[in-house]
């Protein structure tokens, strides 16, 4: 039976706060048995999702938190990064150009890395107009 365990992290939108989420997700992933290379992939993807939410939705307003939810399954780890969509009327969703990455375009590279490094990625707009990035990594797909 796949017993799920959930951890919620409320992280202020300040430069460098993404490292709190990175460290926690790495700890969970290592405990679940993900190999080192996949843990590093996960850390980068989670950091980029947090940075995107803090910068583009919250404009690094330290009084506004992002919510990072880690859900552990038997063979999968799901990480959701949710923002409050401040500054975006209809919530946030990346354009195809954002995702491709462009020379000197940090946001583009961040989204590109998330999609390349994770097994599943979904970008959604929540009911209250915020943004949600849902990322999944499967234990059985780990190559090393």
């Amino acid at each position: 039976m796949d017993i799920e365990k959930t951890i919620k992290l409320h992280i202020p939108s300040t430069h460098g706060s993404e490292k709190t989420a990175m460290d926690r997700v790495a700890e969970v992933a290592r405990h679940m048995g993900f190999p080192k290379g996949r843990v590093e992939d996960l850390k980068t993807a989670v950091a980029e999702a947090c940075i995107n939410a803090m910068e583009h939705s919250h404009q690094y307003d330290g009084d506004t938190n992002i919510l990072v939810t880690l859900t552990q399954g038997e063979s999968r780890l799901e990480v959701c990064v949710r923002d409050k969509g401040k500054g975006t009327e209809a919530g946030w969703k990346p354009s195809s150009d954002d995702r491709k990455g462009r020379e000197g375009n940090a946001r583009g590279w961040g989204l590109y890395l998330i999609e390349e490094l994770m097994d599943e990625v979904k970008f959604e707009v929540t009911g209250d107009g915020g943004g949600l990035v849902k990322m999944v990594m499967h234990l059985e797909k780990s190559p090393d």
Binding site: E48, I51, G104, R107, E116
Partner: protein, 114 residues
């Protein structure tokens, strides 16, 4: 929390070595670009970025590295990286940095034949 980036510059023959340790991000990347610009202003055409093994690089920092790589390519300068972890070698490859910058495991290897 975010660490600052420590930058130490050493000149070895005709190579300027820029040591990086800490967090390379959108906040600290400008200092790296400034170190590169200063090296170029001093006449250096060969620049080696030496990464500390525990350095953290995010997309904001990557954007600065891409800018430096593009500038070096456009102006015929040689830029090499050393000490980059296996993970960040993969990331740099994914974003296309390795098309313009050669990566070496050690500083000694990077300086050889530079």
């Amino acid at each position: 929390m975010s660490k600052d980036l420590e930058i130490a510059v050493v000149v070895s023959g005709d190579v300027t070595i820029i040591n990086l340790d800490g967090d390379l991000t959108a906040v600290t990347g400008q200092a790296v670009e400034n170190a590169y610009t200063d090296a170029v202003g001093s006449g250096s055409q060969k620049i080696l970025f030496q990464f500390h093994e525990n350095i953290y690089v995010n997309s904001g920092g990557i954007a600065f590295l891409i800018g430096i790589a593009a500038d070096s390519r456009d102006n015929g300068r040689k830029v090499r990286f050393s000490g980059v972890s296996e993970h960040f070698q993969k990331i740099f490859d994914m974003v296309g940095l390795t098309r313009y910058v050669e990566i070496f495991p050690t500083t000694e290897a990077a300086l050889e034949g530079f």
